[in-house]
Symmetry: C2
Subunit: 244 residues, 2 copies
Amino acid sequence: MNAAAPQGYDPHAFEPFAVTVDLAVFTVRESRLHVLLVERGEDPYKGHWALPGGFVLPSESAGTAARRELAEETGLTEDTVPSLHLEQLGTYSEPDRDPRMRVVSVAYAALVPDLPEPRGGGDAASAQWWDAGRLGTLAFDHDLILADARARIGAKLEYTCLATAFCPPEFTLGELQQVYETVWGVELDRPNFRRKVLATPGFVQAVEGPPRRTGGRGKPAALHRAGAATALHPPLLRPEGRST
Amino acid sequence: MNAAAPQGYDPHAFEPFAVTVDLAVFTVRESRLHVLLVERGEDPYKGHWALPGGFVLPSESAGTAARRELAEETGLTEDTVPSLHLEQLGTYSEPDRDPRMRVVSVAYAALVPDLPEPRGGGDAASAQWWDAGRLGTLAFDHDLILADARARIGAKLEYTCLATAFCPPEFTLGELQQVYETVWGVELDRPNFRRKVLATPGFVQAVEGPPRRTGGRGKPAALHRAGAATALHPPLLRPEGRST
DNA sequence: GCCTTTATAGTCAGAGTGACTATTAAGGAG
DNA sequence: CTCCTTAATAGTCACTCTGACTATAAAGGC
C-alpha cells in the first residue's frame, strides 16, 4: 500500500491536516528554569495549562508562525523578537493527539532572558511563567514536547554558545554559569567554568572600561557580551552522562 | 493578528495543508556516501531526481509513514525495517515549496547498511543509489533537506554510536572507521580510532571465537557487533571545526 | 576593623588525544 | 619458499584539557 506514486501525487488526493506551531519558551528566573504556559479556556483540557501556539497561516512558514506567536505571547515588540533564539524541535503528529481533529504540530524552543511579565501585546491574557521543575500535567502531548525541549536545550548547551541567549545583553560570568547550573541541575566549579569560557574564542567578549556590576555583595564582576562564535569546540560537557 | 485564541481554536477555522514525509536514506558503498533518490515522472520537476517520500495517511503518524515509505522504497521486508535507524530531521514548510499546493513535509534521515539494489517490493521502479558527493540539483527544496540531513548525520557520529547503523551485523573496526571517514570526508589515524572505540564501553563488542575476516589481503581483522550503548561519552570529535 | 561573600588567579595530577613507531599475519609475485 | 605489500594490532610520548583545589582581591554588613 502506498499513498501515491513517489512525489507524483494527485493534487486532489491529499488528506487535509491542520498545521500548528507549539512553543516551549524558556527563561531562567531566580536560578530556576521557567516555561511560558497559557491556560486553556475551552475543552478539551479546559483549565489545563498548555504550551502557547497557534495555526500556521496560509502565507507563513512554520518558522514565521512561531516567531509571530512568540512576539504575541511574550509581549515583545516585533523588532526585539528577531534577535531571540528560536529553534525547531520536531513535529508531533500522532493521529489522536488532538481529540477533535487531525492536527500536526511543529514544536519550537525559544530561549529568552528574564522578561518582566508575559502579558503584553498579545491576546494571551492568561500567559504565565511556570517553574519547569514543578509542573503538573499539561494539555495534549505537551508534556512530551516540553520534555524533548528540555533535553534538546540541555544538550545544546554542551556544544554551542547558546547559554548567552538566556542572559541580558551584558552579563557576568557568574550569571552565565548560573544558566548552565540551572538548565543542567548541577553545580559547576567556578574557576574551571571561567577558564573554559574564556579559553573559547568568541564565546564572550569583555566589556571595555572599568564598569562593574553593582547589586549584591562580594567583589564586583567584570561584564561581558555574547561573542560571535556559535559553536563550542571542544564542547563543555556535563559532569555525568548524557541524553539525546 | 493571530490565527486563533491560544489553543482554543475553532475546528472549522483551520487552513488545510497536505502533509508528507521525505526520506534521506543514506548508505556507504565503496567508501562513498550514497543517497537513495527517485526520478520524478511528472511536472513539476519532471525528470529531476528527488528524495523518496509520500503522504502521511489519516491513520498514521509521520514516523509511521516514514517507516512505511522506507520499506517500500528500499524493498526491505517489514520485519527488517524496524531495526533500521530512522530519525526525524525537521519540517519544511515554506509556502511556495511546492508550486501546486500547500505541502508541509516532515523530513527523516535513515541509515542503512550497504543493500543489494533498491528495487524490491515498492512501486518505486526508478529508485536508485547516488553518490552523495556528485549530485545535480534535486526537485523542490530537497537540496536543502539533503544538506541538513548530511550535517545532522555528521554531527551525530561525534557523540552517538550511530555509525554502526551503516555496518552489517558483524563488522571490523576498519569498516567502522571507513564509515567515519566517508561521512566526514577526512582520514583518521587507525590506531587512535581503534583505541577510542574500544575504550568506549558498549560501543562495540568483540565476536567470540577465532573467526576472522576473509576477503582482502593483509592481516585478518577481528569481528565486532554493535554494543548496547547509544551515546559516546566523551565524544569522538571531528579533526577540524564543527557544524550544527 | 573583622567577617562574609563573590570574583579572579594560579597549581597540580590524571584522562584523553594526536602523531608516531613497531610488530603480526595474511596474499601475491618472483 | 622468500620477499614484498597490505592491513590489523600493540605500544610510546608529548601536549591539551579538565577536575579538584588553594590563594588572593574587592566589595558589603556589622
